[in-house]
Amino acid sequence: MTRSLRVDAYDETVEAAVAMGRREQVGFILRIQEKKELLFNLNNGETEEIATTSLRGMGIQVCTPEGYTGFASSDRIDPSTVTELFQQALKLAKRVEAMKGEANKALFSAPPNNRRVVVPLKYPYGSCSLAEIEERLVKLNKSLTLDPRLSVRTVHRLVDEEWRVVRHDGTDTAFMTPRSFIYNTFTARENGKTATTYCNLPGTDLSILLEPAETAKLYKRSVRAARMALDLLHAGTVKSGSYKLVIDYALAKVLAHEAFGHAAETDEMESSILGENGRLRRGMEVASPIVSIIDGPVEGDYAYQPVSANGIDRQTVYIVRDGILEAGLADLFSAEAAGVPVTGAGRAESYQHLPLARMSNIRIQVKDPWPIEEEFEEITPEKLYEIMLRTGLMKEGEEVYYLSGFKGGQVNSAEGNFVFNCAGIYLLGPEPRLYQPAIFSGKVLSALRAVRAGLGPLKIDAMGTCGKMAQGVPSSGGSHYFLVLDKNPGIMLGGEGR
């Protein structure tokens, strides 16, 4: 017996849409979304805000037999509204036809899907009293004020979201995309100088707050970030230049996501560095032969989405296998033009948005990584230096910088430029020296070709929000604990002048 979902309640609306599709002899995709959200915001031991959000609505994308598309959405979900939206969307599609706009008939080639995904959650939305959540968060926040120079902000977000995607061809799929995180921000101030660092713990439910192993992990990450903020008050700046680098898995996630994943999304293939005449350059050597890049949904992950917003099962894709470009992240409407199969990559921020080809959990996997037994949170820069020496990945006295933590990134997929920022930079040595964060920038392919080794097991819980085309969807990923990148003139550490 499958658990019921809130989106199951809209059968009459679905039937009305199907009837409209038959009557008008057109194709459609109906997306119904139900979302509940809790947000806690604490500052320096005090609750600043507790907010709830409730959202529901539907959007319908209508496609004429000639392939012209129109869209309409509303926050009402009922049969008469879906009929009205259908007519509006069809009218707009006909307007596109009159303008000789873009036609795309891919909707009529998609296989029907009736998959239903109910994610088992140990501590779902509503399983713990709000008073207890608040009490635990206040305790956590207070415990992190390690120094009077520190200000600590804690944000906790819990999202209970369900989708139902229905098409004219009998597709009727429903799935959950639950997610949660705790995010701590540390601002250190002293004599007019400030430094800000962050850390987080993502998940799908309240386990991140209620499971002792999870809270211990968050505490370790937080203490590290807090100490780094204090240390950065007195840190110098790195001279700009090309260096041998070690990046942690969070930064590797950004490398995979920003520098590479976007370029593999097929809806931008006309201008991607991985495309040629709009088609994915499969077989192209894009990375070191030890590198594979994989994207796909992982149950229990912050960015989990098992079915696309077009109603197609999301596949796990080897974008790069052993350094060779193998596949794209292809949604229904751009796969054919890019010369690749559909992989169910379409995602939308809400029922009001048209889906785009997007990543889910993207990770860099390296052949024969050097093992590390300890947890990632236990590896200090000193220990990393020892590991680097022991594995022969660096020599004593060699100038190697370790980029720790990430603060986001940005890429121009058309030109292959990327920029990331880290929380802090260590010059590795027996007594690692901390420097101010500086951008890590360069050319996508140079960075991937520079990957020399991986250290530790895969760790893929680095979270973020991807903002492609102004639509925010959760993203995640990672790599081995650390990746070692050889010095390469195509990648540069920013900072001030030489």
């Binding site: 307007r95 101030r189 048209l354």
Partner: protein
């Protein structure tokens, strides 16, 4: 909107002064409701209205509600249309999420806010079903841009009608309509520009937008080589300067961050009117200008719009303050900037002409886009960014596009007497020129 608002008001008023099962007693309420309709259509790779840019009509009723309970307790919730259908269930949730806040604000007393005109007839007509102009903008933009040799034109038109109602249990009832319009045109994945106001553009404005985007893309397609690395003149075009102002200045002027010691500026800095920037620089927020994108009649809390100096003659005046942080810091609430740096007014007694300045420039960069600004530490003021779309200028002549990394200190930029502010064609915000480290 008035029906939704009136029904919600009625439900809330029946609860005023009553002790609920949870033990809470409602002492007041406020809400900020929006009933919005949008028409959005785009052009992607020269084609209008494909599966990613299909014309779409969107309707939504949503907003924020804040409940004031006895004993300094408050509830904040985002609400949508069905709140009235499941009112009891929502109320129970709101009771559960009530939290104590000694700095919780009072409700605003009733008043008549400035009658700023914000709804444009042309935009309203489009949302009433006369869709043609929205498509025409894209078709004309496509034609103008391709005239500049642009191979791939992307664009978007979004026209909205927002019927807004801000009300509270003290009797405040501010209802008005606004029509935000955004038009974006870009080319060859190199550069794009935006028109954003609460009205449609006139023909000259629209043609100017498309021509500027087209000309700039054409310039950026010519390649040049950076002659040397090191310190040189860097000009941030207005949109880039606005992005810097938003990331660094507005973040640090946030009342929340100031009150919680997470800003580069301390509360005391404002009390002392600390001089932080050059003496001729005044930066304000002004929500009273007719049909401007950043204009509005009152904030969601009911604070009237107005003009407020945030920095006056180089000295800190006030953070951006909601009622809560005004109370916490013992200051007056302010108007709130809308649309980030674009919503700020930059006042300087003197600005040089951009074209004149460029003609005299020995060597420098004009920066049209940077990558990674959001990754920079807003509190430190330092920047180190890839300027992926920049034009090299030598001896007053544009040489072509260079890709560089620029590094500097934005606080220094605003403080230095050597910084030059430039009147930029078609823009209210100036371009800004300063010296920064530039690397390949």
């Amino acid at each position: 909107m008035s029906v939704f608002g009136e029904q919600l008001q009625e439900r809330l008023n029946t609860l005023l002064g009553k002790r609920l099962a949870s033990g809470l007693t409602l002492t007041g309420w406020r809400f900020d409701l929006h009933e919005t309709e949008d028409l959005e259509v785009g052009v992607k790779n020269n084609k209008i209205g494909g599966p990613y840019t299909a014309p779409g009509l969107k309707q939504e009723s949503s907003g924020e509600i804040c409940l004031h309970w006895e004993d300094e307790k408050y509830t904040i919730a985002r609400i949508e249309r069905r709140v009235l259908e499941d009112f009891q269930a929502h109320l129970e949730l709101w009771e559960k999420t009530a939290y104590k806040d000694p700095y919780g604000p009072e409700l605003v007393k009733p008043y008549e806010p400035p009658a700023v005109p914000l709804a444009h007839e042309g935009a309203t007509a489009i949302l009433n079903g006369e869709f043609t102009p929205a498509f025409t903008y894209l078709a004309e933009g496509l034609e103008i841009m391709t005239g500049y040799g642009i191979n791939k034109v992307d664009g978007r038109v979004k026209i909205s009608r927002d019927r807004r109602l801000v009300a509270n249990s003290e009797g405040l009832w501010v209802a008005y309509e606004q029509t935000p319009v955004q038009i974006y045109l870009g080319g060859d994945d190199l550069f794009g520009d935006v028109f954003a106001e609460k009205r449609l553009p006139d023909q000259e404005e629209f043609t100017g937008l498309a021509a500027y985007a087209g000309r700039t893309v054409r310039e950026l397609k010519k390649r040049a080589t950076l002659p040397r690395e090191g310190e040189m003149a860097v000009i941030l075009t207005p949109s880039v300067f606005e992005a810097f102002l938003e990331h660094y200045l507005l973040s640090n002027l946030s009342g929340r961050l100031v009150a919680n010691r997470q800003s580069a500026f301390a509360a005391q800095d404002f009390q002392e009117a600390k001089k932080v920037f050059r003496e001729d620089l005044t930066i304000s927020v002004d929500g009273t200008r007719p049909y401007r994108y950043s204009s509005y009649r009152c904030t969601g809390e009911g604070v009237p719009t107005g003009r407020a100096d945030l920095v006056r003659e180089g000295r800190l005046v006030t953070p951006v303050l909601t009622l809560k942080y005004a109370k916490k810091l013992g200051m007056e609430p302010t108007a709130i900037p809308v649309a980030g740096g674009y919503g700020l007014v930059i006042d300087l007694p003197q600005r040089e002409s951009f074209d004149g300045f460029l003609g005299e420039l020995e060597e420098g960069l004009i920066v049209y886009s940077v990558l990674g600004l959001h990754t920079q530490d807003y509190s430190a003021g330092k920047f180190s960014l890839v300027a992926d779309q920049s034009l090299l200028v030598r001896k007053g002549q544009i040489q072509g596009k260079v890709e560089t990394v620029i590094a500097g200190d934005f606080w220094q930029v605003l403080a230095s007497e050597d910084t030059v502010f430039l009147d930029y064609p078609r823009e209210e915000t100036p371009a800004v020129c300063f010296r920064a480290h530039v690397a390949q």
